[in-house]
Symmetry: C2
Subunit: 189 residues, 2 copies
Amino acid sequence: MFKKIKPTVLIAHDLLASYVQPGAVAVDATVGNGHDTLFLAQLVGQAGRVYGFDIQEEAVKKTAELLAQNGFTDTVRLFQAGHENLLDYVTEPVDAIVFNLGYLPGGDRNIVTGADSTTKAVRDGLALLKPGGIASLIVYTGHPGGPEEKEALEAFMQTLNKNEFCAARLDFLNRKNAPYLIIIEKSLV
Amino acid sequence: MFKKIKPTVLIAHDLLASYVQPGAVAVDATVGNGHDTLFLAQLVGQAGRVYGFDIQEEAVKKTAELLAQNGFTDTVRLFQAGHENLLDYVTEPVDAIVFNLGYLPGGDRNIVTGADSTTKAVRDGLALLKPGGIASLIVYTGHPGGPEEKEALEAFMQTLNKNEFCAARLDFLNRKNAPYLIIIEKSLV
């Protein structure tokens, strides 16, 4: 039982809460069961807007249900589309973009995000960020293809101009295969 | 110019401030110019106690001066000794232990912490931690011997029992050779 170190997903939520203000525009690139989508909808409020994507119909349906149950119907636009195509749907600058990689919890574990499409999606997502905006990625390595996705992502991160982006990684040295966090802040200038 | 991502040393201070309460016992294993020692002395206050170590006379002297200038003379015990020998001086459980590795800023860059002594010091420091206590390490890799120290430390972290310790790493993927942070929390149970 640890005192202050939280699970990765909650660390990500704390960080997002410090960046995303009411009225903001946010993207959930991989809605999954919709928990992050709902969290973003709550942060941006009625004056904001959230775009949500998932390649799986099941995920989009579950997310729509969760949002409806919580009274968020107008401010979230859901699309059944892979995150690598988000630029086809989002054309305005965004304050935050969230990726939760791997497979759909409770869904088909053979349908996973992949190294190439994830790298493209993250590159496109960063291009949408406003100055001072934040991208959050939760990365899993315990499933087939996970280590390759991690390698590709981290190699891409190393290419980011350090004056334009700061890419920080928070991982756990004595927890092999625990999900870990990458956050990328876009410079203000 | 980044908005919320701070330099590693300040991230470490924020974390320490959330763990170290007035009356706590803290160790600065590598006092250097004394900035962390002073910060810890301020956190623990008059009811607390700080032990400070450095192998270099110059560092101990500078730290003593900085503490005196700030009115902290009674609560800090400074020792000119390598951090690998801290168990010779600290025999009580501690709430926090801080390591700032590499060389003394402004001092002789040939005198650096080393892989073997640092690993021993960290192992000994963790043995001193109270349940719920925290160890903070700022690691530098840009100087000769730095990469080897990082490798040794991270290999040691991987051996820590995950029920007893949580070892988290915060580093920067697009800042090669930037100092980075390892924090280790000891479980409450």
